[in-house]
Subunit: 552 residues, 2 copies
């Protein structure tokens, strides 16, 4: 009896083990017979091959604000059992969550740098995901590490135009680093300033270098009290973050005034450099950052002049071209980035104007040896001489975004990317003209690349101001409030989406100026659509204006 | 005549413009009529639904070493024109590049932590790519930011098991941070030590905090010469890198001896703490790091004892559970991580034992307010009160990996993940027994999780050593060389792949010990396959042994 029971129990344990193995097998081999299979197949086919139509019909239709929705996402327990098979869960995702995501691919979504991407990019991302290569080391990436070095050399050459010999020497050189793929522009900027910091506070007699011994020891060894990075007031916030992370201090990333075109004011820059030097001989300029397309206005700093100033002063010159870098591929507009080849390091994002899927950034170096200061090794991977790309990089394990860019360059050609750049710039110019034609609109920053900012500025406010200068403060507050409200109402209920930001108005007493911001990074966005978007704003404006007339 | 020519030229400009627009349109709408469309469609269907078979038939079949291949990837010019349509380029990629990638999904690939992933993961990654949400801000992610907060709270609860009230309060709280998604474990570890550094050197009278003023000012304000992080000798190299990046100095990430089970030696740790204190009152312990599954041996530090030591000393306790974290989902083995809830911060990778595609990491915090020290804002996004997730995170723009984990937890259930953990541990134990049964094999580190290391150790070498102790050095060198060669030969021509690393042999005079390392993170890997893999090693060993007998 006992024996029989024991046997039975053993059988059921074995059965359970077999069921478990069966479950894992079905999970890892794919759920091809499960409920929902053919439905999911159709969805996935649409996602990958008819992406624009899939997005149009599934994304961004959910009603209710994010605040209201948040009540639905509060369960914090992980259920013990599988809820449904994978087909069903993914169909659920498409039906119940995706409608509340944001259709950033809509040609009416012109508010941010996250935009439409070509379907082939999604196909490539899916293939890269299936291959699941880990580019930290050759043993888990093989040829992909070679592809990565090649594509990095291609973009490096686009920026720096060094000789054929130079590229022949470095393209597959295991000991040098022309650039790195990063998670995004933030890590790219951090990496650039990391390399700059470590080059400035390099090892020397009795000092092992800042990387090994730290910032405090570095300052001591070099007789420094403070390292400073200068960047225009429109510099990306990741630069301050880099200062914080790298132990330089975010306050030491010091903003420099911009001129009337939103470019760094060269005189202010020169003055700032003098101030820093004369303030104390123990101040050190770590880097000067030029912007190749500011996030807020799309304007480009005078890179050539900045590069020359950096050379004169022996300062690391970093160019944050996260946004504008791909303009180098336009024969018509690459001149806008003149001087970028003077940079010691350059940030360019893949997920911006290379139209790659989120998230992919890159950083490039003029000196292929600069990253040797920040190399790390381990016993099981990234051994000396292994050729593993993880030796010199901020990241560890990471996905093969280089495969995507490699194919994208072949598909698009320089010319294809050039066309996108040109479409963006030229459409933005047309829009600027349209805005200038409208009496209640005021263009604030004209487009240099494909970004512009403007305000709704009631025409009669100008007259009120003339008659009663004492109403200036109230007028400015009203305009800011009007623009804030228009942006919010349009985002919540409109057909269009633009973003808003705050620019500093140097000449006005009430310095903060709320502006609307349009980014044209979708070739399907044309003037007809843009007119609809600003028409809608005009309608909202007219409906809310009476509320703002009371205080005048 | 002139007029006619001019007109013709205008027409051709217009035509070119239309052609350009047509090209961009076809790129962004998808290439559904182009050559290769149906062939690519079939491939993509396989990639997403029959992934294991696609990988088996397409990946890793290319002949030739990486060195030989590198000659094919040296062209560094970007072509002006599109080379082919996107279907053709992607088919090219599949036919000509993918064969030279590494089939990390093979059940015979047991050398690294990068392994097979379920097809549903690739489907989810493709959907996330198509949605192209940017989680840095609500305006480009909508509901996805809510999903992310929810899934972070679920994993936080798995680790910390706080009260229902706690999670109700924090799950969708815009002002607190239970955790962050990161690019991978490296950035997760950097983020954890960043938070720890900023909590230690927080603002106080006359000092704005290390984040604003930098490390040197921080040390001055707190009367510190040196900040130190202690971690077992088997700590991941990213911790040293974090020390370098954060300005602490990689040399101040100090290794502590391990015991015979590859766990941190608690006595050595206590001694080290005393040494640091007694060496100088200006030394400060920044953090102690416990490992929840070392990369090389899979062993877990005594987290509970370490947590108590940290509490006694008022030191930040970080647990790097990048590898082992998901063991918390196994009812059978979660006890291995006992004490993890004492951690102030915890790293867990998504792309490891959550079986998500490369690359996805996470970091969790006991104190939901700790990241307030490192918050950054901008005018156009991550404004105060916006609820944008980018306010408190090392990353800027980034993809929505949280969507993948959210669905994966529903599909797998805690039990599904638990089964994977159990399969790994139990298969590793069986393999350990098999290795111990083989006379020429020597188990070096038995598996605690699903990783083990061993050596081929010729049985007769033991006898030689007994007879001629003077041959010790030569014997050790031979063994290291034999194991190095076996690993390389198998990697290059064999059916199996294991990795190798170097462990330090405390009791032997020749301290470096080359070991083979097997990681079992694929439920399709079973004992039959593992026997084949080590049989192959035995064959290689027998073929190379004669060459190593000459010097004895």
């Amino acid at each position: 009896m006992i024996i029989a029971e024991r046997k039975e129990r053993q059988v059921s344990i074995l059965e359970a083990a077999e069921n478990n193995q069966e479950f894992l097998r079905s999970i890892f081999m794919g759920c091809s017979n499960g409920t929902g299979h053919s439905k999911l197949q159709k969805y996935i086919e649409q996602v990958l091959f008819e992406t624009p139509s899939f997005l149009k019909h599934h994304v961004g239709f959910g009603k209710g604000s994010v605040k209201e929705l948040s009540g639905k996402f509060t369960n914090t327990l992980i259920r013990r059992q599988s809820e449904k098979n994978s087909n069903e869960v993914i169909i659920d995702l498409i039906n119940n969550i995706v409608p509340y995501a944001v259709n950033v691919a809509s040609p009416y979504f012109v508010g941010h740098m996250t935009s439409a991407i070509p379907p082939f990019m999604i196909q490539l991302k899916a293939i890269a995901a299936a291959l699941n290569q880990n580019v930290v080391k050759l043993e888990t990436s093989g040829v992909v590490s070679l592809v990565e070095k090649q594509v990095l050399a291609k973009i490096h050459r686009l920026i720096y135009r060094r000789t054929q010999d130079f590229y022949d020497h470095h393209v597959q050189n295991q000991d040098t680093t022309l650039g790195c793929f990063t998670e995004g522009g933030t890590v790219a900027n951090i990496t650039a300033l990391w390399a700059a910091r470590d080059a400035l506070l390099a090892p020397r007699d009795g000092f092992g270098g800042v990387e090994k011994e730290g910032v405090e020891a570095g300052y001591r060894a070099y007789g420094i009290d403070r390292c400073i990075v200068l960047v225009s007031r429109l510099g990306h916030y990741s630069l301050r973050k880099a200062g914080g992370i790298l132990g330089i201090g975010s306050e030491n990333i010091i903003p420099v005034e911009v001129d009337e075109n939103s470019r760094i004011n060269i005189h202010s820059l020169a003055k700032k450099i003098e101030e820093i030097k004369s303030e104390s001989s123990r101040n050190r300029l770590l880097a000067i950052v030029g912007i190749g397309g500011t996030t807020e206005t799309g304007t480009i700093d005078p890179l050539k002049e900045m590069g020359e100033i950096c050379a004169e002063n022996g300062v690391h010159f970093h160019v944050d071209a996260a946004w504008g870098g791909p303009a180098l591929l336009s024969e018509k507009y690459s001149y806008l980035l003149e001087g970028i080849d003077l940079a010691d390091s350059v940030t360019i994002d893949g997920h911006k104007q290379f139209y790659m899927p989120m998230s992919s950034g890159m950083v490039y170096f003029k000196d292929p040896y600069i990253m040797n200061n920040v190399s790390y090794r381990a016993n099981y991977i990234i051994r000396d001489g292994s050729g593993d790309l993880g030796i010199r990089s901020a990241s560890g394990s990471r996905e093969a975004n280089s495969l995507i860019l490699h194919s994208a360059l072949r598909i698009m050609g320089a010319r294809g990317y050039g066309l996108l750049v040109e479409h963006g710039i030229e459409t933005a110019r047309q829009l600027a003209e349209e805005i200038m034609r409208r009496p209640d609109f005021h263009l604030v920053t004209p487009p240099e690349l494909n970004i512009l900012t403007y305000q709704i500025y009631p025409e009669h406010y100008g007259r009120i101001l003339e008659d009663s200068p004492d109403k200036e403060e109230i007028i400015y507050q009203n305009i800011n409030e009007i623009n804030r409200t228009i942006q919010r109402q349009q985002r919540e209920c409109g057909i269009g989406f633009v973003s808003r930001t705050v620019l500093v108005n140097k000449n006005a007493p009430y310095r903060e100026k709320v502006v609307l911001r349009i980014v044209i990074a979708n070739p399907m966005t044309n003037m007809d659509i843009l007119k609809e978007v600003i028409d809608e704003q005009e309608q909202i404006y007219k409906s809310i204006l009476p509320g703002y007339e009371l205080n005048l």
